[in-house]
């Protein structure tokens, strides 16, 4: 066993893991955006992803819209949902303890799962194919085309988001609110509107990753489980760190792929959660998170 270790296989698995990690990074970015701006831990991120995928399914398969119309429609629809959630559930709780808001998102996750089951039933569905299907070869390693293109799209969106929030006025306002709410208010930034913006943008990003995840693995009402891995990603990376989301995404993607390949599928979540506990014990605020200083 040790003598002829299959390095090519390891390479292939790692590539798949890193590509999958790109998807985690995109969803984690959606999470970090809301957390940075509003200090809300959105445990329903996986369910928002699912809603995006189901909206895409509805527009593309049931209404038979062309892809270039169905994808933006699904993304906008999920963005609208993000706005509604922010307005009806998050804003009334401004100033409440963070745990309350966290629990509201737990309730939200439950509501979204129930609604999806009511409207589309709990059955597994397939999304229409829209990505090229010829296999990708990196050296000798084979990479599933959907995974590869999914990762490419995810990386493109991550880059776009970073650029937009670096240079666009709204992005500057978002970063200002994230670093100091009171100061942002005092220089005339409309903080409640920034909150809305963060939720809408986050929901739209979630929809995009949902469409990609759904087209790789199919969609069902239990798709929100993906969100658990995303939670681990952001905790490992640090809740409020964009860099942490990217590094954590790739790290967790890699670990899940390796654990799945060498130990078996049931070890995937176990491995990620053990990494989570280890990171929390060593660095309580994640790898790149801001260390909060507490005073009396």
């Amino acid at each position: 066993m040790t003598g002829n270790f299959d390095w090519a296989y390891l390479f292939e698995i790692s590539l798949t893991g890193i590509a999958g990690g790109g998807l985690y990074a995109l969803a984690a970015l959606a999470f970090v955006m809301v957390y940075k701006a509003t200090r809300v831990v959105n445990i329903a991120i996986g369910e928002l992803l699912m809603v995006g995928a189901y909206l895409f399914f509805t527009f593309a398969s049931m209404f038979a819209l062309p892809l270039w119309l169905a994808i933006p429609a699904a993304v906008l629809g999920t963005g609208l949902l993000g706005a509604v959630i922010e307005r009806t559930m998050i804003r009334p709780l401004l100033g409440e303890p963070p745990i309350s808001v966290f629990m509201v998102t737990v309730g939200l996750a439950s509501v979204l799962v129930g609604l999806v089951e009511m409207i589309w039933t709990a059955d597994q569905r397939r999304l229409p194919d829209f990505m090229p299907t010829q296999p990708i070869m990196v050296g000798d390693a084979f990479l599933a085309p959907k995974v590869f293109w999914g990762a490419v799209i995810a990386v493109a969106f991550i880059a776009a988001v970073l650029v937009v929030f670096r240079f666009w006025r709204g992005g500057v306002a978002l970063r200002a609110t994230a670093s100091d709410q009171a100061a942002a208010y005092s220089v005339g930034i409309n903080v409640p509107r920034v909150f809305s913006l963060a939720w809408v943008a986050s929901a739209m990003l979630a929809a995009i990753s949902g469409i990609i995840v759904g087209s790789i693995g199919g969609i069902s009402s239990s798709m929100g489980v993906f969100g658990l891995s995303v939670l681990v990603v952001v905790i490992v990376g640090g809740l409020d760190s964009v860099l942490g989301a990217l590094v954590g995404g790739i790290l967790i993607g890699l670990i899940e792929a390796l654990a799945g390949a060498y130990l078996g599928g049931e070890y995937k979540l176990l491995a990620t959660f053990i990494v989570l506990v280890a990171v929390l014990l060593a660095r309580p605020y994640g790898l790149f998170g801001t260390h909060e200083i507490e005073r009396l």
């Binding site: 309350s100 737990v106 799962v113 129930g114 905790i235 014990l281």
Partner: protein, 345 residues
């Protein structure tokens, strides 16, 4: 009419049951609990047992989350630990059930203390998510260890009391309800002691508590331990009640259910834990009743499960947004109304 209370001694102030009215109502309640099994049908007895188990576990979580301020999403995992301990002891060792229940409690307590170790360094939401890790690791252990019976789980023989098998809801009622009441009294008493007061101090501001000389780690671990002990005993009762324990019996959703129960009931209130657990257990059943009564009910049953999921979520959101102190606060308002009537309140 009672319009106020006047406490003349510290003993009166610290009493567990402080007013005569309260004592009378508690006596009435106890009498009803004793009479209930003789009047109720099997279905209602079954529900009563289930509610009682949930009350015990929710009260445990309330000690940790409501009183100590440490949010945990691992309560179901600790119940699982208790249930598996009971199942293994009952099938492989054959010790009496009282011992098994206690052992279940203590094993869960150990598990809780281990999970609580990060609680000094990690707080709030990070801790909540770390406890999710506990439930996944526990699930993995249940599913993969040899003596837990793997994914098939274990079946549990009924508890035996003086040679009589407790195998009907009627007989189990006399085991489950008294144990729950004991645990409730224990929890209510806890917050009249030094330990319970320390928990509350930690919840209100942990740094201040430390400055006041409360060793944080010791009390946080103690809180985790106590809460898991409750979960473990509740899990043990669960095992005797359903008589089969599988890794799927204690999903993350169950932990969320208990957290939801104490939110809906009222965090940091013993009565809240009771009201919340009763309410959250009964809502799905009432929903089923409503659907059965509606015309064309058979078509609607398809929607029953998702509607339950939606209502479960809406209850959590609704209570947090509109009634953050939960049903216990509603109850307090009702009581105040009657105390002050006919005056404005």
């Amino acid at each position: 009419m009672r319009i106020g209370t006047l406490k003349e001694t510290y003993i009166a102030d610290a009493a567990l049951f402080d007013s005569r009215t309260q004592k009378v109502w508690l006596a009435v309640g106890a009498a009803l609990l004793v009479l209930f099994p003789f009047m109720a049908s099997d279905y209602w007895l079954y529900l009563a047992c289930l509610v009682s188990i949930n009350v015990a576990s929710a009260t445990g979580l309330n000690i940790l989350t409501g009183y100590t301020g440490l949010v945990s999403l691992g309560q179901a995992a600790f119940m699982g630990l208790g249930a598996y301990t009971v199942a293994v002891l009952e099938t492989k060792v054959g010790t009496p059930f009282v011992l098994n229940l206690l052992a279940g409690g203590f094993v869960a307590m150990l598990g809780g203390i281990v999970v609580g170790i990060p609680s000094l360094r990690v707080k709030g939401l990070y801790l909540a998510i770390a406890t999710i890790a506990a439930s996944f690791i526990a699930h993995f252990i249940f599913a993969n260890w040899k003596f837990t019976g793997g994914t098939g789980g274990l079946s549990v023989p009924p508890a035996k009391l003086l040679g009589m098998a407790l195998d009907t809801s009627f007989r189990l009622y006399w085991l489950i309800v008294p144990v729950t009441i004991l645990m409730l009294l224990g929890a209510a008493n806890l917050f009249r002691t030094r330990v319970g007061r320390a928990f509350i101090a930690i919840r209100d501001r942990d740094i201040s508590a430390e400055v006041l000389g409360i060793p944080l780690l010791r009390y946080k671990l103690l809180s985790f331990g106590l809460s898991s002990f409750y979960a473990g005993v509740a899990g043990g009762l669960w095992a005797y009640f359903f008589r089969v324990v599988t890794p799927e019996s204690f999903p993350l959703l169950m932990s969320i259910f208990f957290l939801a129960a104490i939110i809906v009931g009222g965090m940091g209130s013993i009565l809240g834990g009771i009201l919340g657990a009763v309410f959250m257990t009964m809502v799905p059943e009432l929903l089923k009743l409503v659907v059965d009564l509606m015309p064309g009910g058979s078509e609607l049953t398809v929607f029953l499960s998702p509607v339950r999921t939606v209502i479960f979520g809406l209850l959590i959101i609704g209570f947090l947004v509109f009634e953050p102190h939960g049903l216990a606060e509603v109850w307090r308002r009702v009581r105040r109304f009657f105390h002050l009537w006919p005056f404005r309140n």
